[in-house]
Each structure stands twice: as structure tokens, then as C-alpha cells.
Symmetry: C2
Subunit: 550 residues, 2 copies
């Protein structure tokens, strides 16, 4: 027997209409790419996006067509999203940090028909000219005045498109499973693969993030998404904020400490989201200037582990709570958040902080399991490494056009590719990417754990650990270190720093000092490249200095 | 084009499994009907409910069958809900405050096959014996020891059913639109009508309530649903609390001030929900004893307007925030909550409080509009009365078995039967039930507004206003007053109290002092009965004392 409740498809346009109707005057403030801080509202966003939908239709875009964006976080970028999704076309966010060749591959694979872009990315698009034949139009997210400087044949002006059309477009009215967004994961092996979000997954994801132990946003919050819209949908904030009517502050291209601090103070930001390096830079700026944020209450930090010193500094010096988050493009991206629990609150302060420094706990709507190689469940004891698998309504079931084949297990769980532990309080900690784990003497060594420790050495700028072949132990860890400018250090000095902090057989046998460790487009160490360069190093024949059995 | 996200049906069992898996040790504390305070956990709830599902299957229950409950808020009652919904049967909550004849009608209309009931309601069921032929089994929510006192032939013992079956039942796996719950509205006209909730509507409703500006519950909250599970699903708390892993405290049959206060203090309750009379009684108790709640932060008050004095007393004397809520059985029941906004916060304190005393604002997931008789939208100016209509994924589209016919307008909105205003800040205020409004000289008079004022008179225990026929003005308001015990008052005294507080033509012409004003099963004034008794009173020929034109 079916229930008798209303048929109300979960489509993204409903969030925008809610924001317009009940929070219409609430501002969206943007540090524009052109320079000025500009202000709009949810009412204006709604109206302008409706006009833009009509413009897209006039340009021949139909439901299901892919429309790309290559842009910073701005109100215009949001308007493009809303216009595309509202009409049932697919908004494809491009990561400008990708290499040209990757962008070319992705645009061609997605068969994007239009690209919305900022002035700052026109040189990138110029390099792609002639290589992305599906693109019919480039729309520059600017006004007529700034188009004068644009030396890009045939480029259209965003403000012209908005002005030339009426706001009478109709949004929604289709199946809630209709595709809404597309984002490619830049995976370190193989070609990038596209995650095709649906309206349903986007709306449910917004609701999942709104739980108090995730983001807990209110109409009284002022939200600053520093994490880019091309990085896993700005962690969903461009929908979560309008769903509750929170004021939005968009940082545009400037993510340095001074610019971010200025926005926080002048706009009264209460909640912000970014990767740890952004918080490091903000902290550096605040320490250098003696300035203190007055409105900021909580920041969400994700994309990489957040150092303990940073969390303590925010808490102790700024009275700002840092919540860890973990997720994936395939998860929309919400996975876990390190919200406390009564059990964690009952621990002594240092033990509590150790819990909160883990990647966190799953909210309702994300299922998570830890398994061995055969798929059997493993203990949540905080020590046992296992493959981390996830299931939920905002998690991918396959990649665009079938890339990568069947990616779910028999129970419908997606293998995250991460190896992790889950402790008795339910806090998950990423141990490593499965492919970056080092298997030594039949046991696993976490490259991340060693890297995090070495990164804490005052002379070290960046550390990376890869496995190198070993005739006796199968693999042994090799430590690759880039020192801070002007510093010198010896192998013994660096390895000695690890003594007593990890099991002796985890300590690498050799240290390679290098001038540069290349990062991928998402800011993570490119281990594939390190393995190519150093994976069959001279160490192959060296004996481990210590026994790999505990 | 459809998205490629996982198929994860929104079924209620997923909430229970989440609570068990990630908050398994969190307690559910019950003041049992038998007397003792008993403790269980989400893990035990899950396991016992699975066993009970097997027991239901053994008793012949199949998906789609209706299983009724006539019970107070207890962990056993929750276990019954979970067992029934988890297997795809329909949990039908019966309101024990209904008259026997109404219960008979409802049970027969629903064709319930089993009734779960508390010891305290066996006398009620005894009166129904022989009149509810669809009922095959009565299950008493108690243990074997207490069954000894049960003089009800054939009654089954709940604990026996749980003990006799294994916990290997399978839940879910069906269409998310499958019926999950059934609740009849006790409407003041016509026969009761059943609202048939679906799994999807229940899960979405839980997510909607979890928004910060609605309930904002956390795993660190301790939640006390005083509002009964038979009263619009305890406002959804029996699903919202496990979804976030909040500790639950169930008050059983005792809702007096002393009992509630004791539970709040001994269990550390942070959030509680009830109708205003419960809060009045709690306040009376606290004032009488000088006791103060130490853990309580926020209460949700709904089902009737909450008096200003109560809100002020909770804030000033107890440091507890009272949020108004408004909803309907047809809305699962979430409609509005009086959460503040930046605009309301900017008002002077008294003006801000006046906003927060209204029924509140809609969260995302509830659409609301105000229309005239013809369905045209009316201004949100805080003055214009209009018919209040609602749309959303947790709102009924029709009643069980088609009762009441087509209930949606052309745009799919349900007419709430209420007349309301919406102000420029988006706060909605119920003016009256449409059928209780008084039409005088072509203008509307709100019976509720006059009642609320008169209820504030120190000598008045309860006031009711109904329209009586008037040859000149069509209708005029008649004020019916029950005085507090031992008090005396004159017509002039009561009417004089209204001078200056409402438009002169709203002031009733006559006052009827009565010994009793009967309340319906949901605690509201039975105006249908008042109209039968007094609606064609002697006043019919009396001239209004004041001109009805403003």
C-alpha cells in the first residue's frame, strides 16, 4: 500500500524559490573578479537566473545538455548554476587548476556546449581553442564595460545575456532523478571520471548538511564558502545556505589571509569552509597583524587533515571552533564531520581533541563500513585498518558514460579507495589511500601518518612517503623531504624525529632530500609521479635498518 | 538525462539502523505506565523491534496491513512503531482522548488487525469489544508479571512476543512511497479522516525538522517528547531524535509539572516539546517549589497559541527559550516555527517578541501561500486575512480511502482551513479557523484574537467567541466566558477589558457566563457544540452596541 502524501519532487529550483520567497532580501556579497565588492540578494539571484535560463534556451541549450563553468566563487557563478540546473540542463564545474590536457579531455568527454568563465581564465581557454569542438559559446562572467578588454573572438557578455531576456522561464517540473551537475574526479591514475549528480541527490545532500552535527546553518548565519564551487560543489554550501536563507559571502579569486579576514570582518561572517592551507594563511595574517575576527564562530576544514596546532590556535587564540570534514566528489561530497558526542565530551580535554582531530562521524544519510580485502566487516576498535566503503542517496553509483565500470560492491557500497580505522566512539580516521599504503612484511604502513609527523618537523616544508620494492619485506617506506628555504638537515636528524612516535618498523630506511614535491590539481601530493621518479630507487637493494615485525 | 547517484529509498528503517550503528549505546528512558523509570538503548530498540516484526508476521500481519497503537509515549510504544513500519505495515496511532464512538468509527474505517495498548487503556478497549470486528489481537505493552492483573480475554503480552522470536527480520527494501503511518484528524465537522504517511514523507519530515531554525537537534541533546505519539507523531520526534542519536526521555502517562520537572532534572533534558498547558503546569510547579531546571535550553510549544506571559516567564525566570510551532496532522505535522531572523533581531525587544509570538516562519520543505476566496494571492503585510494553503513532500494529498474527496487546489496546495496573516518578515499568524471567523458588516472578525485577550483577564478561566446571526450585520460575535472558581464578573467589566485593545466594532455585544466550556479530544474548544447550544441565542434580535464599520 502506498502513502497518500503529496508528490513534491526534490528539485534544486525549490531551494532557490524558497530563498527568494522567504529570505528574498538576504544578501549575496561577492569580491568580484573585476575587483569591487558587489552585493545582490536571493530575489535578484532568482530573477537574473530565470533570465539567464531564457538566454540559454535562446542559445539552443536543451534539458540534459552539459553547460560548463570555469570560474571562482561569485554571485554570477551561482546565477549560472541556477539557470542551468533549473531548466534541467547539467552544470559541469571545471577545475581551473587542472592541466590544459586534462581540461581538454574532460570538456570533450562531457561534450559541453557552452562555457561560462571569468576574465581570469580566458588565457586558459585560448590555449584550448580548436581542441574542444563541442563548445559553441564562451560566456564571460562580466559586464559590458569589462568586455572591452576581452580579446577572445566571439565571447559573449554575461550581463548582456541577462539583460536581453525576460524572467519568465519555468524551472523544475521534471523527475527528481534528472541530472543536475557534473564534476570530474582528478584521480591519480587513469583518466578523470565524471560524477553525475541528480536534483534529488543535491537536495538531499543540502538537507543532510543542515543537521546540527554537520553544518547546522541558520538564517542568522553569514556563510563564507572559500572552498571553490569547482571543488565538490563548494561542499554543497551554494545550496545549503539558500535553503536556510543564510547570507552568503563569495570570495572570488582572493583567498589570501588579508583578503579573507577583511571579508569576515566587514560582512560579519559566522561560518566559513576551506582547506587547511587557507586557515594556515589566515592564522599567519592574524598573528602578523594582531587582528582578531569578531563574528566568526566556526570553520569547517577538509580536503586534507587539519593539523592539531591549527585547531588549537583557532580555539585558544581566536575562540573559533574548527570542525574537520571528510568527503569525496563521489559523495557530493559529505562523508563525515568531527562533531562531538556525549561520549567524546566525557573524555579529558586532550583525549577529546584527539577524537575531534579524526575525520569524524557519519550523519544520517551516509552509511559507512570498514572491510577486509574479501569484503568482510572489520572491528570498530580504532586500530584495525580496513577498506572504507560508503552508501547513500548523495553517493555515486557509476561514473558518467560508464567510465571505470561497476564501482559498487554486492551491497551497493562504493569503495572510497581509502583505508581507514573507526574507533569505538564512531570516529573515522583515514589511514591512507589504499594504493599509497605500504605493505611491509605482511603488515600495512600508513604513508600519511609518517608524512603528518615529518611535516611537524620545524625544518620540513613538505614530506612524502612512498613504498619502494624490497626483496625481503616486499615493500619498505621511502621518505622524500623538501626542506624549508635556507634549512639543512641530515637523514639521522629527520629519522630520529620519528623515534618513539611510531612503531620502529614503520620508520623509513632512507630519506631523499628534494627541491620540489609536485602537487596535483586538488593540492594533494602527486604520488604517482613520485613513484615514477623514485619508486625503483637505489634503496631496492638496501636492507631495512630495523625489523619490520613489531 | 538522469543522474547516476545511488538508489537509496527513504525508508524509516534506515533511521533506526543509523541510530543503532552510530549511537547504539544512547539511552531511551521511559517513565513506564507500570510506574518505574526504565532504560533501554537504540541498540536494544532495534533488536527488540526486529523480534517484534517476526512476531507480527507470525500473527499473520502482512505489508500494508494496519496495526493500531493506543498508548502513551514509551520505549515499548516506539518498538511497536518500528516493528510495524519496518516491515511495510501501517502504524495507526489512536488518540485515547477520543470518544468511544469516534474510536469505534476510526478502527473500523482503518480495518486495523491488531491493537497495541497500555494497561491503562484496557477499560476503553473493553467498551469497544464486539464493535471492532477487524481486530484479531490486543497486545498489552507490558511484561508477564503485569499480565496477571489483566482481565481481558485473549490479550497477548508484549514482552512474550518479543522474547519468543529471533531478531532476524528484514526491514525496508520496498518503494519509499510505501505507507508507513496512519493518523485520523478529529475534525470538528464530519467523520474523522485518515492521513496516510509514507516512508518518504516520514524520513523527509525528520530531515526538515532537523534544520537549525526548526528543532536543530544534536547527538548531545536530550529530548523529551511530551506531546503524545498519537498527536501528530509526537511532532516527528520519535524519528528526528534517533536520526541524530539524541537521548530520548519518554514521559509515559504522567504530564503534571512535578513529574515532568523530575524527568528533566534527573535525565538532563535539553529540549522538550508540548502544548502550552503543559508548560503552564510546569511553570506553576516551579514557582510553587522554587525549583529551577538546570539542563533545559529550549522548548517547542504548539497545538495552540502560547501566551506571551508564558514565553516571558520561561525566558526571564528560567532562561529557557520557548519556540512557537504550528502544524497539522495533515502536515506530518511541521508547518512553521518562530525562529528569529536577522530582521527580527534588529527590532526593539518588545517588537521582536511580538514577532516570535506568532506561529512562525516556514522552513525549506514547506511551501505556504495566502489567498482570497478565489484563490488569488494576498499581500504579506501582516494585516490582510487570507486562506492559508500549504504544499510539500510531507503534506497530505488526499485522505485514506478518498474521504473528503479532492482536497488540493489547482496548484497542488492543501487548504489548511485556517485563516491567517503573513507579515513582511515572513512570520505567519493564525487568525482563526475559517469556519470560526465571524463575518460582520462584510468584514472578518477573528474569534481567536478576542479569546486570547479575554483569556488574559485575571478572573477568566476560559473564553470562547462564536458568531451569532444578526439581521443587520449578518453575524455578530458572542462572548462565552467561564470564570475562575470563586470569581464574579459583570458583562461591562469583561467587555470594558477589551476597550482600546481591538477595533471597537470587534467588541462582542453580549457576554454569556457559563459553568463549562467543553474541549474536544485534542484539547481545543468544541465550537461546533457551542454553536449548537448558543448559536441562535436571544442576541439574534439585539442591535450591535457599536458600528461594525471601522
Amino acid at each position: 500500500m502506498l502513502g497518500l502524501m503529496q508528490n513534491w519532487p526534490l528539485t534544486v529550483d525549490r531551494i532557490l524559490t524558497h530563498a527568494k520567497t522567504w529570505h528574498g532580501g538576504r544578501e549575496i556579497v561577492t569580491r568580484s573578479v573585476e575587483g569591487a565588492v558587489v552585493r545582490t540578494t536571493y530575489t535578484e539571484l532568482h530573477e537574473r537566473a530565470l533570465k539567464l535560463t531564457n538566454a540559454l534556451v535562446a542559445l539552443g541549450i536543451e534539458p540534459g545538455d552539459r553547460v560548463a563553468t570555469l570560474a571562482w566563487n561569485t554571485a554570477r557563478h551561482m546565477e549560472a548554476w541556477c539557470a542551468v540546473m533549473g531548466m534541467g540542463a547539467v552544470c559541469h564545474t571545471l577545475n581551473p587548476r587542472l592541466f590544459i590536457e586534462q581540461l581538454r579531455y574532460i570538456i570533450n568527454h562531457a561534450q559541453d556546449r557552452i562555457i561560462f568563465t571569468d576574465l581570469s581564465f580566458l588565457p586558459t581557454l585560448a590555449k584550448l581553442r580548436g581542441k574542444i569542438p563541442s563548445i559553441e559559446h564562451v560566456v564571460v562572467l562580466t559586464d559590458r564595460a569589462h568586455m572591452a578588454d576581452v580579446a577572445f573572438d566571439g565571447a559573449l557578455c554575461f550581463e548582456d545575456l541577462v539583460e536581453q531576456h525576460p524572467a519568465d522561464a519555468l524551472w523544475g517540473g521534471f523527475d527528481e532523478n534528472t541530472a543536475a551537475g557534473l564534476c570530474y574526479t582528478s584521480g591519480t591514475t587513469g583518466d578523470p571520471k565524471g560524477v553525475l549528480y541528480s536534483h534529488r541527490s543535491n537536495v538531499l545532500h543540502a538537507l543532510l548538511t543542515l543537521q546540527a552535527d554537520v553544518m547546522g546553518l541558520s538564517a542568522r548565519d553569514v556563510v563564507l564558502p572559500i572552498v571553490p564551487m569547482f571543488h565538490s560543489n563548494a561542499w554543497g554550501l551554494t545550496l545549503s545556505a539558500p535553503a536556510v536563507g543564510a547570507k552568503l559571502v563569495m570570495p572570488g579569486a582572493k583567498m589570501d589571509g588579508a583578503s579573507i579576514y577583511e571579508l569576515i570582518e566587514t560582512e560579519g561572517v559566522t561560518f566559513a569552509a576551506a582547506v587547511p592551507t587557507v586557515w594556515e594563511r589566515l592564522l599567519d595574517h592574524l598573528r602578523a597583524t594582531g587582528a582578531r575576527p569578531t563574528s566568526l564562530k566556526r570553520v569547517l576544514s577538509g580536503g586534507a587533515p587539519t593539523p592539531e596546532a591549527l585547531v588549537r590556535a583557532f580555539q585558544d587564540e581566536l575562540d573559533v571552533t574548527v570542525s574537520q570534514g571528510w568527503g569525496m566528489t563521489e559523495m557530493s561530497p559529505l562523508g563525515t564531520v568531527s562533531a562531538s558526542t556525549p561520549e567524546a565530551d566525557a573524555l579529558p580535554p586532550d583525549a577529546r581533541l584527539r577524537e575531534l582531530l579524526k575525520q569524524g562521524r557519519v550523519p544520517f544519510g551516509v552509511e559507512m563500513k570498514l572491510t577486509d580485502e574479501a569484503g568482510a566487516p572489520l572491528a570498530h576498535d580504532g586500530r584495525t585498518f580496513g577498506h572504507l566503503k560508503v552508501r547513500g542517496p548523495a553517493i555515486a553509483r557509476e561514473y558518467f558514460k560508464g567510465r571505470g565500470g561497476d564501482i559498487l560492491d554486492a551491497d551497493g557500497f562504493l569503495d572510497t579507495g581509502d583505508v581507514a580505522t573507526i574507533d569505538p566512539l564512531g570516529f573515522m580516521q583515514i589511514t591512507d589511500r589504499a594504493k599509497d599504503l605500504i605493505k611491509s612484511g605482511g603488515e600495512w604502513i600508513s604513508s600519511i601518518e609518517i608524512e603528518d609527523l615529518v611535516d611537524g618537523h620545524p625544518k620540513v616544508a613538505l614530506a612524502a612517503v612512498i613504498g619502494v620494492p624490497d626483496p625481503k619485506w616486499e615493500e619498505r617506506p621511502l621518505l622524500i623531504v623538501k626542506l624549508r628555504a635556507g634549512e639543512h638537515a641530515t637523514r639521522e636528524e629527520v629519522l630520529g624525529f620519528l623515534e618513539g612516535k611510531i612503531a620502529r618498523w614503520w620508520i623509513p630506511d632512507e630519506v631523499l632530500f628534494v627541491d620540489e614535491i609536485r602537487l596535483g590539481a586538488t593540492g594533494k601530493i602527486d604520488k604517482k609521479r613520485l613513484r615514477e621518479l623514485y619508486g625503483s630507487s637505489a634503496q631496492g637493494s638496501a636492507r631495512p635498518l630495523r625489523s619490520p615485525t613489531p
